[in-house]
């Protein structure tokens, strides 16, 4: 049997409803993420990248279609959402660290309370990860006392602490200055080296080009173009993709 992709989306449709008005945010989205590969979602703000990630983590309920994690339909109403989320790590754009807990407690919360790891073991792993991400001395600090890049790396450690099957990164460098962007992206690069399966929504085109095995260009909720990073960045087929990439180049971001 050929290996099942870690994540598979099948004709996913998602709409938002507000006062009788319906907006389609994702339309017929198909996606396959094989194990140990990195998929980059690119596209303008509001094209549905973040919504797609939120749907995968079941933070949003999809309207139609299905999402499979390791072959299991996780969007089935009979599926246990908490069990699904235990297998997925998420890093949010605005970090979403818990401000009332130290960095160490932020990281060990899920291992201890959800996965039943004992305190000593959870803290050991947390310190090891913090060390690796250059936050060795920050375990006892509170999130509000860290810089943006440090907070984002702490958030990555929090997501990694439970050894997720799949890591979702939602524009994790959007709020960081260029120096810190490099810092965070090198962490992601290392994770790829280790074989972590990731889906990354990003505006960092150079990074997407370098790190992604698969690139998807989303436009108005539709996957307009997909392919290897060489295909999408090197020879985009769709006029909309060409236009988007041209703007990016003009802005000096590729």
């Amino acid at each position: 049997m050929t290996s099942t992709p870690v994540l598979r989306l099948e004709s996913v449709r998602k709409t938002y409803r507000a006062r009788h008005k319906e907006t389609v945010v994702l339309r017929d989205v198909d996606l396959e993420v094989p194990a140990h590969t990195v998929t980059a979602l690119i596209g303008a703000s509001g094209s549905g990248k973040s919504t797609l990630l939120r749907c995968v983590n079941l933070l949003e309920e999809i309207d139609d279609g299905a999402i499979f994690l390791d072959g299991d339909d996780i969007t089935d109403p009979r599926a246990d959402a908490d069990a699904v989320r235990r297998r997925i790590g998420v890093v949010f754009q605005s970090y979403n660290l818990f401000p009332h807990m130290s960095v160490l407690d932020n990281i060990t919360l899920a291992p201890r309370r959800v996965h039943g790891v004992d305190r000593a073991e959870a803290e050991e792993r947390a310190r090891e990860l913090l060390e690796r991400l250059g936050l060795g001395g920050k375990a006892g600090e509170y999130p509000d006392r860290l810089s943006g890049g440090q907070q984002q790396r702490a958030a990555i450690v929090r997501a990694l602490a439970v050894r997720p099957r799949l890591l979702l990164l939602d524009e994790i460098t959007a709020a960081l200055d260029p120096e810190l962007v490099g810092e965070v992206l090198s962490v992601v690069r290392d994770l790829k080296e280790e074989g972590m399966t990731m889906v990354i929504a990003t505006h960092e085109m150079g990074f997407a080009r370098e790190v992604a095995d698969q690139v998807c260009f989303l436009d108005a909720g539709v996957v307009l173009e997909r392919g290897t990073s060489a295909e999408v960045f090197g020879a985009p087929q769709e006029a909309r993709t060409q236009q988007f990439l041209k703007r990016i180049v003009e802005a000096g971001r590729l």
Binding site: H20, E22, V24, T51, L59, D64, G65, A66
Partner: protein
């Protein structure tokens, strides 16, 4: 509004979308699950109600209890007097409630002022809340209602209702000040930083950024205090003013029947429920306007 607005949302889209069999199956399953959950909830409620009813009705003293507490004839007789007394409670609630909110807010804001120049004000506000929050309401009432007239000051009222209202306001504004202060302190410092960075003064930061968020958060506990105040307005009867509870008491002690108390109690409950539902509705509407997407 056109008829299009009322069509099912899935069909209203013009992108040729047709719900898949998978979606229909899922929705059918969810409907079934909702039905099942509703049925279980209804059944368990019914069983609880029946058991309670049977236990109460079959208790040895039920006949006697029903006559003294649930006599329709007495209820009808007491209702006009109780309602007349209630009018006093309502007036006190509205006037005291307004004063309490204003005074409470001022006290809370005074406690958040920074800088040595404001030390006396801050200290005063702190002392005030410490004192009146700790002082039992009934003692406060006795002091104000009987103590102030005893001073025989020129031009100062001796009306027990007014003095009772003052005492209630004194105590409750101390409670409410702490509620407001908790709300103010729950607003993340980054909000204050953002407002100050725009050049807003301390006062304007409070007015336009901090307080709107703070008040929104403390609506439920605030309502708690207002409901509590509504019930405590009855305490002005210690000086002879006739409120709903005192009116019931008068009838009860004359007729040796407690039904008027039940009538007054139910009226109080009936008053607070719409108030709670109303604030729930207002806050839920505010939330809907701001957030998009699902909640987890």
């Amino acid at each position: 509004m056109t008829s299009l607005d009322k069509m099912p949302s899935a069909a209203a889209e013009d992108d040729g979308y047709v719900p898949s069999a998978r979606r229909l199956e899922r929705e059918a399953f969810k409907r079934g699950r909702t039905r099942k959950a509703t049925a279980i909830a209804a059944l368990s409620t019914l069983v609880t109600a029946v058991v309670l009813y049977l236990v109460i009705v079959n208790s040895p003293g039920w006949e006697r209890t029903r006559e003294t507490f649930f006599d329709p004839a007495f209820a009808k007789k007491a209702l006009p007097d109780v309602l007349e007394g209630l009018w006093l409670n309502l007036r006190l609630l509205v006037v005291c409630g307004a004063c309490v909110l204003v005074l409470g807010m001022l006290l809370a804001v005074a406690r958040t002022l920074r800088g040595p120049a404001f030390f006396p004000l801050r200290a005063l506000a702190t002392a005030y809340t410490d004192f009146f929050r700790g002082l039992p309401l009934i003692i406060n009432l006795l002091i104000v209602v009987f103590g102030v007239p005893a001073l025989r000051l020129q031009g100062v009222t001796t009306d027990p209702v007014v003095l009772g209202g003052v005492a209630l306001t004194l105590t409750y504004s101390a409670y409410v000040a702490e509620v407001f202060r908790a709300g103010i302190e729950s607003v993340h410092p980054s909000q204050r930083a953002a407002a100050r960075s725009l050049g807003l003064s301390h006062r304007k930061t409070l007015r336009y950024v901090v307080l709107p968020q703070a008040v929104r958060r403390v609506v439920p506990p605030l309502l708690n205090d207002l409901v509590s105040l509504q019930k405590d307005t009855g305490l002005v009867s210690i000086a002879g003013a006739v409120d709903a509870v005192y009116a019931a008491q008068i009838i009860a002690s004359r007729e040796f029947n407690y039904t008027p108390y039940i009538v007054a109690g139910l009226i109080f409950v009936a008053l607070t429920i719409p108030m709670t539902r109303f604030t729930d509705w207002v806050t839920a509407r505010m939330d809907r306007q701001r957030a998009q997407g699902g909640t987890v």
